[in-house]
Assembly symmetry: C2
Homo-oligomer: 632 residues x 2
């Protein structure tokens, strides 16, 4: 396959949108910031965002009636491509359009859309997404900020009751934000139909966390009464984004400011919601904001592509040591260098195809009105799992690429400084990866229970027999489950991944059931199985990612090898487990290592083509030169 | 064991010196830089270095006759403790006293010592260590800079013949350096005793890389004629160090400027050296500079201690999720958090004790005139291996600690920004880790060949029988080699580490021998075994580190558990290999995982004490608070 065709395959349905972003990134002045003082970086990022809004690109995911293009998938694809460039710009866009605009779109109703969406997508109204507090980042159901309804005034009183409840790390807050979507414990009148118990604020019931719009600054940028904002100051990275802390001192906003798609408060304070269970209601609201998480995984894959392009191109021109009397050897010809760079390259291809599947599912769920709870849960599981794996992959790969470039990679000009620093937070924001993998595992366990319940007696028996045989094989150490298929066959690889996931999932389900059955408290049972739970999610993501790669790998022999490299390098990494469970014999486990090494040698001649196909604009590669130029 | 006693054990023979550094770091104004513009950071670092020289601490490793204290070990210990603080200060000290001063001491002779050592250790003469070039960082035997002797003028002509040969990333060069130890291909007259062939420069033979002193700037700081210096500019980290590039245009220096301990050039150009073989000569010179490498591993261990102190203290006060109706659970009570932080904690203890063994060996080799080639090679192997493992451990652990602190860890105030950025280069400077592991493996293979050659027939037979049995066990998959000892017994753990190392070493020796025996070129044979070669070094370092920990672990039950955690977590990480080689059965491999989880739970109550014992000064912990204060 030519570089061009491979790039077309990678870019898929969104080739035009991605090329448009590449074009913008290639314009003089749009290259990533290398070394600017924080305030100048912030100003530049704001100007960039405004330029992008003028291009009309930032409203793509919004409804056409508010100036958008109803193209959710295109919007995430475009965001992903923007991540080749300055990541502060990316995150600022994510805050404004994805989080702030997205919350208004998904949690608000027509009156909010009409009043705010155009202003949000045009950056006329810079906004914040004020969810995280100092005391709660992961367990956001326990936020401390309150929004108490006062039926006399028909207003909500937004308040920060303790230092732990101040809003923290909020993007757009320190400098530009004029309004915030504030997540707070809603305190409002009695249940639907019941009379309001008392007139004053504080008399209602706690309804759990809801979102409402709270103005922060006036048009001159002055902070409004009752609002206190502090700059979080310099960060490890992303210094072009103005993160801040916000305290509210009994700030009053009109009743209409509640984003009331999932719950409403009537003028008299009566609280209504179509979703009875408060936890389910909260997670339904959160679920609509899934685009942010998917955008982060896309961004991390793009950042990984930048790093790999730089490091692999360098490895194809840099020489060191070798046979005496001959030109020194290219770094790319060393096996350690191949392991360091080509294994992550294979995984990046795999994740890239998986991300496109994720975008397609997102687009389907948010475009097709018929999608139900099951599709939404599937999307949530996939988004959580891929986000965790893709962001950790970015952190590891960017680090490996920096090291592979030695001192040259340590200069600010090389882009590794920004890539490392800016992507670092991806592993813990938009959901901490550890928490996300637990969320994915929880969903998988729910599906498992559903499926198990639905199995007919014969199916159940077969299922159990299969499990028992596996366990027997483990116990007596015979390699009965190792069927010896060709390691390079996709079928063998998929079967190994699938077997692992099913085995891990079944095992953890049994452990949890037994622990709870023994009368232990569920939390300690969960903590006790926590590493097993994470493995459940990880093994599932691995499988899904391999499936996504397998779908296209057959089109080209190099791609096919790359897919095998991804599959076998994952099996190699987990070969301890496969042997423990009698699924790989010792001999076959060693054969996996050998196969990985052979694949590396076979893929090595195509390394340049494989990174060229990513289509990272030259302007985003820092001081790295194309191979032909550097070798000349 | 009390925190105090544990700290005394960690500080060992150098407790007083380490406490002195802690005291200095705790003085107001000496806390690590959080956020200064580069030039201000550089100025501050220079002022700090000058302050430290005034305290008399920076010459500790130098001979008493030049104002030092003849305390090599104390000097490395002190350097390690300084790494709790600003790492730009540390690296600036390393460049000036370790590299520049160290090269004069070890490669020069009395006239250089008398003339320059006091000036170097007092910072009156800021200097550079100009080895690395743009084209050669690892393969420094192939440097391009030339130093051609001109017998007419009795001068060396130092020259940069190509862009690849410019000196690059040189610390102290951009701003402060007034003189450099320049490594260059020495071109000088014919062999010892032969007449000089021709009068002019360029007529001599290439003698390989030697070091000589070249002035860079005058007392006013102006660059001297023929010298061009460029600032490397902002870096990924360590911006308080002024790295630069240097070009020499036929710069003339007197003959006496050759650092001539290992090779001399007479006025007529006659070249003499006690070491006949040029490669051996070069590596003998390099070998004397080993202190730098040992200093880097010490620094990376200290930086890891800072990160672990911050993250573990936070995990002991931060709560998130938990049993409904109860206070949320402490992060430290989650198994994933324990795995994330306590396993690296155990490894950090292990490496800390190994580092002290390394310091003791360094002190012995450089203090005891009787040490021979064998001791020096041992020290080189140990230094290379521990440096690689300790610096990679730092990179991984600091990252894990940042993630464990979530958003709080992403603020510049938290120290993670500097810890991550500054320590990053440790994995590739003072020897790229991959290259260092190969160096270590090469030495181990040399020892192996020596030992094998010396074995008597009976010993050889036993050795071969042992190997054969091991291979048989692998082939038929029986667990014959798994002797089923108590996993918590130190003896079992040591035996597993030892068995692994011996098996890997023997295997790679056979593969290399066979490859070369088959007539293949040695370089391609090496590349083919490269991952196996790295494993050889890694398995040896693991063993040495465990031995160092095992020596002290028996003194205290908590320390004993921590040592088991280190051992078993390494075995867990390599359990794929152990099963492949019939050394662990599947059942026993699973038992290792279970034992690790149990040890985590047992060590958990002692986590605070274990980080307190590191004695990281509060001033070096950024905005992190002690547990008691944060919990209050």
């Amino acid at each position: 396959m030519s570089t061009k065709n491979l790039r077309a395959l990678l870019d898929g349905d969104y080739a035009e949108i991605r090329d448009r972003v590449r074009w913008w990134l290639s314009q003089p002045g749009n290259e990533p910031v290398v070394d600017l003082p924080m305030e100048e970086h912030r100003a530049k990022v704001l100007a960039w965002v405004q330029e992008l809004t003028a291009e009309g690109d930032t409203g793509r995911g919004f409804p056409a009636e508010y100036g958008g293009q109803d193209n959710v998938g295109g919007s995430v694809a475009s965001f992903g491509a923007l991540a080749f460039g300055d990541l502060s710009l990316l995150v600022k866009c994510g805050v404004q359009f994805g989080l702030f605009g997205g919350a208004i779109l998904h949690l608000g109703t027509a009156r909010h859309h009409e009043r705010y969406l155009r202003a949000a997508t045009s950056m006329e109204l810079p906004g914040c997404f004020a969810m995280t507090e100092t005391g709660h980042g992961s367990n956001v159901q326990a936020l401390g900020t309150t929004a108490t309804y006062d039926p006399e005034a028909e207003e909500f009183v937004v308040h920060t009751p303790s230092e732990d409840a101040r809003k923290d790390y909020i993007g757009n807050a320190a400098r530009d934000g004029r309004m915030a979507v504030v997540f707070a414990q809603l305190i409002a009148g009695c249940r639907q139909g019941s009379p309001q118990r008392a007139g004053g604020p504080g008399a209602g019931e706690d309804r759990g966390v809801h979102a409402l719009l709270v103005p922060l600054r006036d048009e001159d940028g002055d902070t409004l009464a009752g609002v206190r904002i502090e700059d979080c100051g310099a960060k490890l990275g992303l210094d072009g984004v103005d993160n801040g802390r916000i305290w509210f001192d009994h700030v009053r906003v009109p009743r209409e400011n509640l984003l009331d798609r999932y719950a409403q408060v009537a003028p008299d304070g009566t609280y209504t919601s179509a979703i009875e269970n408060p936890t389910k209601r909260f997670f339904t609201m959160l679920g609509t904001l899934i685009q942010g998480r998917i955008s982060v995984s896309g961004a991390s894959i793009s950042a990984t592509k930048v790093a790999l392009t730089i490091a692999i191109r360098r490895a194809l021109t840099r020489r060191q040591f070798g046979v005496p009397g001959e030109p020194e050897a290219l770094l790319m010809d060393y096996r350690t260098h191949q392991r360091r760079l080509l294994i992550p390259l294979a995984a990046t291809y795999a994740l890239s195809f998986a991300q496109d599947r994720l975008i397609a599912e997102l687009h389907e769920v948010f475009t097709n009105a018929d999608t139900g709870d099951r599709e939404r849960r599937e999307l949530e599981t996939l988004a959580a799992g891929v986000k965790a794996i893709a962001t950790w992959h970015a952190t590891e790969t960017i680090q490996a690429c920096r090291e592979a470039c030695g001192g040259a990679g340590y200069l600010r000009q090389s882009r590794f400084a920004a890539l490392k620093a800016d992507t670092d937070v991806f592993t813990t924001f938009e959901g901490d990866n550890t928490v996300l993998l637990q969320l994915a595992a929880k969903n998988l366990l729910t599906d498992y229970k559903d499926a198990f319940g639905e199995l007919d007696p014969l199916g159940t028996a077969q299922f159990i027999a299969g499990q028992a045989f596996g366990m027997l094989a483990e116990k007596i150490g015979i390699p009965g489950r190792d069927e010896g298929g060709d390691l390079l066959a996709r079928k063998t690889q998929l079967e190994l991944f699938k077997w692992r996931h099913e085995h891990v999932l079944g095992g953890v389900a049994r452990r949890l059931k037994k622990g709870i059955g023994d009368g232990r408290d569920p939390f300690s049972v969960l903590v006790d199985c926590q590493d097993h739970v994470l493995t459940t999610a990880r093994s599932w993501v691995d499988l899904v990612v391999l499936e996504a790669f397998a779908e296209v790998a057959g089109r080209d022999p190099v791609l096919d090898k790359l897919c095998s490299l991804y599959a076998l390098s994952r099996i190699e990494a987990e070969r301890g487990w496969y042997q423990e469970h009698g699924k790989l014999t010792a001999t076959r486990s060693k054969a996996v290592i050998k196969a990985v090494n052979e694949l590396l040698a076979e893929i090595r001649p195509h390394a340049e083509m494989l990174v060229d196909a990513f289509g990272v604009p030259d302007a985003c590669l820092g001081d790295a030169k194309p191979v032909a130029q550097a070798a000349a």
